[in-house]
Symmetry: C2
Subunit: 468 residues, 2 copies
Amino acid sequence: MTEKGKKHENFSEWYNQVIEKANLTDKRYPVKGMNIWTPYGWKLMSLIDAETRRLIEKADHQEVKFPLLIPEEEFQKEADHIKGFGDEVYWVSHAGSTKLDVPLLLRPTSETAMYPIFDLWIRSHADLPLKIYQMVNVFRYETKQTRAFMRMREIHFFEAHTCHVTKEDAEAQIKQDLEIMDSLAKKLCMPYLKLKRTDWDKFPGAHYSVGGDALLPTGRLLQIAGIHQYLTNFSEAYDITFEGVDGEHLPVHQTTYGMSERLIGAVVAMHGDDNGVVLPPTIAPIQVRIIPILYGENQELMDYCDKIKNRLSDTRVDIDDREDIRPGSKFFDSEEKGIPIRIDVGNRELENKELTLVRRDTGDKTTIPLSELETALQELMNKMQDEMYQRAKEFLHKNIVEPEDISDIKEEKIYRIGWCGTLRCGEGIEESTDRNLLGTLYEGEEFKGKCLWCDKETDTAAYLCNTH
Amino acid sequence: MTEKGKKHENFSEWYNQVIEKANLTDKRYPVKGMNIWTPYGWKLMSLIDAETRRLIEKADHQEVKFPLLIPEEEFQKEADHIKGFGDEVYWVSHAGSTKLDVPLLLRPTSETAMYPIFDLWIRSHADLPLKIYQMVNVFRYETKQTRAFMRMREIHFFEAHTCHVTKEDAEAQIKQDLEIMDSLAKKLCMPYLKLKRTDWDKFPGAHYSVGGDALLPTGRLLQIAGIHQYLTNFSEAYDITFEGVDGEHLPVHQTTYGMSERLIGAVVAMHGDDNGVVLPPTIAPIQVRIIPILYGENQELMDYCDKIKNRLSDTRVDIDDREDIRPGSKFFDSEEKGIPIRIDVGNRELENKELTLVRRDTGDKTTIPLSELETALQELMNKMQDEMYQRAKEFLHKNIVEPEDISDIKEEKIYRIGWCGTLRCGEGIEESTDRNLLGTLYEGEEFKGKCLWCDKETDTAAYLCNTH
């Protein structure tokens, strides 16, 4: 197995290989940064999307779909926004051989497509809050090296947009978004930090941004969610107003919540091992694979496998009944795909009316009587789910360290440092450590210390780390 | 109601109005031919998509997603295909201020995105059949007048693509596609003709095309599905081969099956009336709306409504509990949205432990005891579904007429005519009647007659009609 990329020796190589072996995406499409969603990869994304949909609809958001193409003029109304995205947008100039009257761009995100319409949807305060979301493809002309799921030019994107009467309502929305993110993170076994970004690193046009940052085994953070307080920055540019009680027209307060296929990238990176990806049971396209340990024909054994499968109608289960493949190869295949639980069924199991459950993450084997199938399996999946989450959480917290001095900052870790809050000191720290100051904990925390750059006393702790 | 468009007086005006009143789409987006999917419209589309997904996955197709952007070079490999679509594609030339090395186009359909990759996915005959589908946005620069759901420039599109060892396997696939279409058509209450297109009207690059054509109340046909036999036309251009038993490389046989948001357009046009749209129960986002006939506060009545709703957990049901709206306005609103069944609950119903069911399509009212709620409601929805389908089917067949002579062809009907099968006569008929020769029945039929143009004896009947 020497040709295999080892996770802890060469992360990039390993990451590319496990994704290819699991067949989660096909990178051979002839446009850089645009991959093909294979059946297996798309099924995984769909299961994550379904969970997102469930959570966001419970929070009274409604699904919509806005057009992909945005007229140049609409895009340019919010000055910071165009500054932030201007260099990365794809432009449509012609249709057939006709030059378009107005150049159109492919959405990099949908503020500028939606907001001119929001004003038509909102008349009075009875129309608020407006809470909508969409799941669409967005386009960003990334100039950095692209990487499957993590940095793409066509991105599968979730975006929720809300409008509120007051700033307080918008703040409450942000709290709700973070609760949704917490629920989703548990399903993905993907703990994360909620970091309120520095002013120079917030979303273009936002008043403030909260990044959901997951720590990968590389010791670098990957942003997997962005939740933004816009105040009235966009509503003033796009004239989105409602009629207040005295008949005056007031700008709405807005928030957004964005996520993408990066969720898959984070899960693969965090939980995969040298044998392949490891998927959490809640989102795995195949939760359980039954493998008959066959040498030659054995109809009785196959019937036994069918019987097991039929009892698991609430589970995403299949049988690897390929005839010309040895059991060992089937085990490898199941591991490469990250299937959480394998059920091995050989002659011994058949005779004793038992079956052997194998956990993908730990390799632990348990033999159980057939009569306990449903309960034992459900318990094992729950346990695996919990333990995967806990392991990742321990990894995250173990890697947050406090440097004595700026010269201690050498490793790939998350550094918790004192920061006086000024741009000057922030830039000084970022430049001298060649790391990103990712912000302060959204929920706040107790801190007493000195700014790592100017030594001034401060009660603000900030988080410094390399990013993917 | 004089300002209302009447269906049988001004179809176009009526169609636009009922769609707007039901809030199925928002046409105010500032790019022509690109509308916004509202929550109600998108929910309707999602329910149709879910049914399509169920049927196509039962037929062993797997869902994928290919990139939106196609390199010019790939697009141009199949000559007829580029000829058919060349004038309608949107071109991306720049990203930011960078001119792209290779011009990219927005897919009008995905043959040319997928087929260069299919060759990588298919090695031997063990990889066949390959059956995949995707649901994506496609783009066509329509120069004709655009119309919501029927003729758009950004289109919500379903496309299934298959590869087979033999022509016979591909033919069997086409039969299976048409069976799926039959099932779906029943759910949509939308009967249709399966017409094998003339050679000059087939899909660009196809060997033959079968159009699924629905008759609208205008007397014109609307194509709602396209099923295509490609033979090896594309596989030869894109070099999609498999290794045969003797080690030789043979081109695969291919088919496609396409549908779009036109399904919604057809249902609205067929079943709507002067009070609004009428949705078939199987696909209606709200199947049942409970309307409390309230004058002032009445907690007991509201509790009774809640009780009814809670018993209908398998049904998409809501309560119109808006306080400042009169029951009459609530009835109108429910009608405009096309909600199949209304449950009216007033004091009489409360006292007698009854409820009144009102059918959207016929307006029929039935009062039933509360104890029969679930059964009576299910029966009524089934009956409504069947009768809507039957009515549309009768309308379709009643409007197929056989002209004695070419001079009889004046009305908006489907004309069944004799045709010798030649291009010359086909063109003669089309030009002199200013109608489209849409082809012959896919399933074949008995016919003895004369070609309407050259008078030669023929056993081929063709269908002539105006189209939307």
